[in-house]
C-alpha cells in the first residue's frame, strides 16, 4: 500500500471531517424537529380582550340581555385536527371536568361547535348568548330557554338557588383516529391532556336584582 504524503493525509482528514459535518447538517435539515403537541382554548370578553365578560361588568344576567364573548382555540398538535368545543351549562353542584382522570363534566351539553383545523391555525368566533326564558319556583331559578348564536337551546336540568352560580363550561374534544370517535382532550404519544374553561354568572328574572 503506497504511503500517503503529508498533503494527502491532510486532504483525507479534511474530507472525512467535512463528510461528517455535512451529513449531520443534511440529516438535521430533512428531519422534522419534535415539538410539544398541545391545544390552546380561550374565551375573551365583548371587547376581544380578557375583560368585560358581562354587560356593564355585572355578572347578574337578566333574561333578554345578550352576552357576547369570543371563543377561540389554536391547534399546536403539528398535524390536522378535528375538534369539537362542547358548551355545557352547569351550576355550583354539578362537577367540573376532571383534569386528573380526564373525565368531562356531567353537565348537559347546550351546543357544540365542530371544525377541522390545520396545524398552527386559530379558530375564533363570536359566542353570543341570551337567556330567553327563566322559570322561578320557590327561589329556585332555572334558565329554561337560551339562545346561542341564533340557535334556540332548551335546558330542563340545571337550576340554582336564587339563580346564583350558574356556569358556562367549554370543553375541548378532539377526534381520535384510533377509536374513530371524539375524546375529551387529546392524546400526545402515551400522554393524555385536557383543556376546558368556565365562566360563572347569576341568572336573574327582570326586576329580581
Amino acid at each position: 500500500m503506497p504511503k500517503l504524503s503529508e498533503a494527502g493525509k491532510r486532504a483525507v482528514t479534511i474530507f472525512i471531517s467535512a463528510m461528517v459535518i455535512f451529513s449531520t447538517l443534511a440529516y438535521v435539515s430533512v428531519t422534522p424537529r419534535p415539538r410539544e403537541q398541545f391545544f390552546q382554548i380561550y374565551v375573551l370578553g365583548e371587547t376581544g380582550k380578557a375583560e368585560r365578560y358581562y354587560p356593564n361588568n355585572n355578572p347578574n344576567i337578566p333574561s333578554g340581555k345578550a352576552v357576547k364573548w369570543y371563543l377561540g382555540t389554536t391547534n399546536f398538535m403539528g398535524s390536522v385536527q378535528y375538534v369539537v368545543i362542547k358548551v355545557k351549562l352547569g351550576n355550583s353542584t354539578i362537577k367540573a371536568p376532571d383534569d386528573i382522570n380526564y373525565t368531562p363534566s356531567p353537565a348537559p351539553v347546550l351546543l357544540q361547535f365542530k371544525r377541522v383545523l390545520m396545524n398552527n391555525e386559530t379558530w375564533e368566533f363570536p359566542f353570543i348568548w341570551t337567556i330567553q326564558k327563566i322559570d322561578a319556583h320557590d327561589n329556585v331559578i332555572s334558565p329554561t330557554m337560551l339562545e346561542i348564536n341564533g340557535v334556540a337551546v332548551r335546558n330542563s336540568q340545571v337550576r340554582a338557588s336564587k339563580g346564583y352560580n350558574f356556569r358556562v363550561v367549554f370543553e375541548l374534544w378532539t377526534f381520535d383516529p384510533e377509536s374513530v370517535g371524539f375524546v375529551f382532550g387529546w392524546r400526545t404519544g402515551a400522554e393524555r391532556r385536557v383543556a376546558w374553561l368556565q365562566i360563572w354568572f347569576n341568572a336573574t328574572s327582570p326586576g329580581t336584582r
Binding site: A11, F15, A18, M19, F22, S23, S79, V116, M118, P177
Partner: protein, 182 residues
C-alpha cells in the same frame, strides 16, 4: 269461581288486544315506509361519518408526507364543508325531513370522496418531492466535502507560498543604536 274465570278471560283478552294493536299498526305500509326511510337516512349519515373519517385520515397522510400548505388548506375547507353537511343532515333528520337528510348526507359523502382522491394525489406528489429533496441533500454531502477539501488544499498551498515568499523578501536591517552622549 265463575266470576274469577270471567275476570281472568277479560284480562287475557285485554293483554292480547294490547299486543295486537301495535303489531297491526307496525304492519301498516305507511309506518313501515316511514321507519325504513328513517333508517335509510340514518345509515346515510353513518356512511357520511365513515367517509369523512377516511377523508380526514387521507388529509393527515398528505400533510405528513409534506404536502404544500396552500393545497392542504383547500382540502381542509372541503372537510369543513363535509362537517357542516353532516351536521345539517343530522338536524334535518331530527326535524323529520328524512329525504333532505339523506340527500345532504350523500352530498357530504361525495365531498369526502373528492377529498380522499385529492389527498392521495397530494400525498404522492409530496412523497416524491420529499424523496428527491432527501436524495439531493445527502447527494450534496460528498460534493460539498470535496469542494471544501480542494479549497482547503489549494488555500493551504497558497498560504504556504505566501509565507515562504514573505520570508524570502525579508531583509536584515541593522538597528542603529542611539549615540551615546559623551
Amino acid at each position: 269461581m265463575q266470576d274469577r274465570s270471567i275476570r281472568l278471560w277479560a284480562m287475557l283478552a285485554a293483554v292480547m288486544l294490547a299486543l295486537m294493536v301495535p303489531t297491526f299498526s307496525c304492519t301498516r305500509p305507511r309506518v313501515v315506509f316511514s321507519f325504513s326511510t328513517l333508517s335509510g337516512s340514518s345509515q346515510a349519515i353513518d356512511r357520511a361519518n365513515v367517509e369523512f373519517a377516511r377523508a380526514l385520515a387521507a388529509a393527515r397522510e398528505a400533510e405528513a408526507a409534506g404536502a404544500d400548505e396552500d393545497q392542504l388548506l383547500v382540502l381542509i375547507e372541503k372537510l369543513n364543508l363535509a362537517v357542516w353537511m353532516i351536521d345539517r343532515a343530522e338536524s334535518l333528520l331530527l326535524q323529520g325531513d328524512t329525504a333532505a337528510a339523506a340527500a345532504q348526507a350523500d352530498r357530504s359523502i361525495e365531498v369526502s370522496k373528492g377529498v380522499v382522491l385529492e389527498a392521495v394525489r397530494l400525498r404522492d406528489e409530496a412523497s416524491l418531492r420529499t424523496y428527491y429533496g432527501k436524495v439531493f441533500a445527502f447527494g450534496m454531502v460528498p460534493v460539498a466535502s470535496l469542494l471544501v477539501t480542494v479549497g482547503t488544499h489549494y488555500g493551504w498551498k497558497w498560504w504556504r507560498r505566501r509565507e515562504i515568499d514573505r520570508t524570502m523578501r525579508m531583509e536584515i536591517k541593522g538597528v542603529r543604536e542611539p549615540m551615546e552622549e559623551t
